[in-house]
């Protein structure tokens, strides 16, 4: 779905004028217009990769904040040019950093915050506040404001209501200084979502200030060091905040596919007799695979005995662990990073999963789930001739981050998904220190 631009170019205002201007806009200029009674969405939109690709002349501007196909293609090309391992995902922050070492002075128009994905605008946000840090850390704070109405969709039953867009742009330091402007812009009577659309390693003070308790936080735990990401998830969840993780959401088809295997009642008993769980992930970002393992362990009532680093296959360290089942038997777990030629966009994408169940007195059952974007030959290899083999290909949903976010906004949940809340602490303990 194409993103739409605000119908009018946003008005540049001194930052201190934003709040009075918006009050005037709704009370006088737009008198009679229906302001959406929905939610505020605050987005930290760093887009470092896009900024660097454009600055170095690999991509044409403007800067939009959207992760489109041409950006991904150029990022893949840049991985090779920067001498990074081929398994490096486009969104791996090391790529943006490596590009930062390359020369380039292209300065395109910056339209971040002015493009609104249709999937998001369909939910009629009352206010979109975008914080857009610039590569030039010395830039002062700029503000732009526009009223915004979703495009009227023929056949849509519900009435469309308008909102407004606020963009705060500048170097990280000036964004930090501009933070006092944000709180008054958030309608206290409406839910507020904060989407940290960048690495969780950066600007922790800014994150803390934006993602205050009571606001629904959206992060992507594939962006940032796994330890920092999982600790932040656990800390926020345990504080009672509603936390949504796009990395966890992208596991949806894996959870669904594995559950489907055991939907027929005749297979359910096998779940009590799992002896081995293996997961392969792309590259060296292990968190997604650990979250999936943690979900399985939690759902099946396994107790983690220990976890340890294991040597990977040339793509970083893997994770090994032992779990104890409810009947006291042991489950062996291995997560291995595997090198791939064409990685998916986000670090640590799932490659495959193997679950071996050994019910007493029955043929062992081996379930293998493979990503449709790549094979899982390693998991298929060896030792399964005597087992009942169930193989499924897991579809890879081709959905943008905005689509995923729109799904969250539409869901309207004001608490953390209980499956994530239960899995995150287990994943944190699985990740070796």
């Amino acid at each position: 779905m194409a993103a739409q631009l605000t119908l009018q170019a946003p008005l540049a205002l001194p930052p201190a004028e934003v709040q009075p201007y918006l009050q005037r806009l709704w009370s006088t200029d737009l008198q009679g217009a229906a302001g959406a009674s929905t939610f505020t969405l605050v987005i930290y939109e760093a887009s470092w990769l896009q900024q660097q690709l454009i600055r170095t002349g690999r991509l044409d501007g403007p800067i939009t904040g959207l992760l489109d196909r041409s950006l991904i293609e150029q990022a893949r090309q840049a991985v090779a040019d920067c001498g990074l391992p081929l398994s490096t995902a486009a969104m791996d922050q090391r790529l943006a950093w490596a590009l930062g070492q390359h020369p380039g002075q292209h300065q395109p128009e910056d339209l971040r915050g002015q493009f609104v994905d249709t999937a998001i605008s369909e939910h009629m946000p009352r206010r979109l506040i975008t914080l857009a840090p610039t590569l030039d850390a010395s830039l002062p704070l700029e503000a732009r404001v526009a009223a915004f109405c979703p495009l009227v969709d023929e056949g849509a039953g519900a009435a469309q209501a308008c909102g407004d867009v606020v963009v705060l742009r500048g170097g990280l330091g000036s964004l930090q200084q501009g933070l006092p402007l944000v709180d008054p812009l958030v309608d206290q009577g409406l839910p507020c979502w904060v989407w940290w659309n960048s690495s969780l390693d950066e600007a922790p003070e800014l994150l803390d200030a934006l993602a205050r308790p009571g606001r629904r936080l959206v992060v992507d735990s594939s962006l940032g060091a796994p330890r920092r990401c999982i600790d932040l998830l656990v800390e926020r969840i345990q504080s009672g905040q509603a936390v949504n993780d796009l990395n966890w959401m992208r596991l949806r088809t894996w959870r669904e596919s594995l559950a489907m295997v055991f939907d027929p009642p005749s297979r359910r008993e096998a779940l009590d007799h799992v002896v081995q769980l293996d997961i392969d992930v792309e590259g060296d970002h292990t968190l997604k695979g650990l979250l999936l393992a943690a979900w399985i362990a939690d759902r099946l009532g396994w107790h983690l005995i220990n976890s340890f680093a294991v040597d990977g296959d040339g793509a970083g360290s893997g994770v090994g662990a032992e779990f104890q089942r409810t009947d006291g038997a042991t489950v062996q777990f291995r997560l291995m990073p595997v090198p791939v030629g064409v990685p998916r966009t986000h670090p640590g994408a799932m490659v495959g999963l193997r679950l071996i169940c050994a019910p007493p007195g029955r043929t062992a059952l081996c379930v293998i789930l493979c990503s449709e974007s790549g094979g899982c030959m390693r998991l298929e290899a060896g030792g399964m001739a005597s087992m009942e083999l169930l193989e499924e290909v897991v579809p890879v949903p081709d959905e943008s981050e905005e689509m995923e976010l729109a799904r969250l906004l539409g869901g309207g949940h004001d608490t953390t998904n209980p499956l994530l809340a239960a899995a995150a602490p287990v994943a944190a303990r699985l990740l070796p220190a």
């Binding site: 519900a158 959870r255 009642p265 779940l271």
Partner: protein, 507 residues
Amino acid sequence: MSEVLTNPLRVGLRQERVVSPQCLVIFGASGDLTHRKLIPALFELFRQRRLPSEFAVLGCARRPWSDEEFRQRMAEAMADDIAQHSSAWEQFSACLHYEPVDLQDPPTVVRLGERLDLIDRQRATRGNRTFYLSVSPAFYGSGCRALAAAGLLSDPARSRVVIEKPFGTDYASAQALNKVVQACAQENQIFRIDHYLGKETVQNILVLRFANTIFEPIWNRNYIANVQITAAETVGVEERAGYYETSGALRDMVQNHLTQILALTAMEPPGRFDPESMRNEKAKVLQAARLATPEEPWKCCVRGQYGPGGSAERPIAGYRQEPGVNPQSTTETYVATKLFINNWRWQGVPFYIRTGKRLPKRLSEVVLTFREAPVHLFDAAGGAPTPNQLILRIQPDEGADIRFEVKAPGSGMRSRPVDMAFSYDESFGEPSDEGYVRLLADAMLGDPTLYTRSDEVEAAWRLYTPLIELMEESPEQVPVHPYEARTWGPAAADNLLAEDGLAWRRP
């Protein structure tokens, strides 16, 4: 559903939309539907985390109950369910409230408005309200008028009204009722409920047709010879004699539930799955549907009434012997009818619909019988090859079967029919939600996809108008044939198909 182990990997996977903050107001809160269906459905939604913390239920009826009394009565009626989820009930029941209201008494409706304002403040429900009219159909119009007069339907973005069936008693009364409610609220505020549309298996007709490529190319007159839609009940009239005597099987089952199934079975694919696209296609197909012989409805419709049956040890009373039923009653407890749909897809394909009480089995199903193979190359075990059939089992034993011919084992080339079966139980092993769970959530979310629009309701009534008029003006022309309880209805219903060289499927 047989007892099975829960799939632990399935628990919690569904992440469905949370209802926006609001107050659900149930009129007729002291009635059966409230404690049998509505409150259990809301409790289920609560346990599925689909209700926000800013939520309230306000039960309304004439009885002078307090909040606590209302909670207590609901708890008593749902004791078994609550016993398994006592802490959840404790939280949920805190959002149950009660206000004595008589919709015919304006001061109490004004008081209702004040109570709703108070609930908005206490529970932050933000003025969003869904009014559920679970009252006598005679009060649908006046109920809507009372709500409108009190200003409770004035904001189309924040208020909506759910109206139970039956919506009218014939075409004229449905039109009149539509005019009344549309004068009180916009069409997108009006949710006419048909609980059959809340059933997973009814919705599965859409998925089966429009999410697969193997069915739709043959889903037309070129391949389908006839369609049978059956809703059979084993029970009699039970405690509903008062209502049933004025409605009968045609109004109670055929005009609404079975006609909705007909619409889903026969409609064209919508451009997309949104309320208006869906309802446009359903309305179009219903507008194209006709009784097989509208000028002579007695030729395409059979009515029946169950008589005594059962065994000497366990006798079953006939309809006229049931408590509350007129001993001379001519109300039909069985209807079979033949329809055509005059469009390109279905021209010439008969649709047979039947429903009845005190039949041998409880079941609802749609059976699509395909045309015979043009040439019979092989001997068939049954004399002639059995036509292919697709059987959509709506309840019980939910699922679908495809019947086709295979080679019977042994020398020679004899064919015999076999069934390829899909069973919800075997594939999913989890009970599906009650229809009201889905429908209540949709209403509160403002999604009318599974609710019937005014033109659909009117088209459904218009379809049966020749028959209804005949039943009222010359009932002797559509006589009520007696049939023995726990048999498959009167012989005349078999003749309806026998004239076309067909027979009802014996499920």
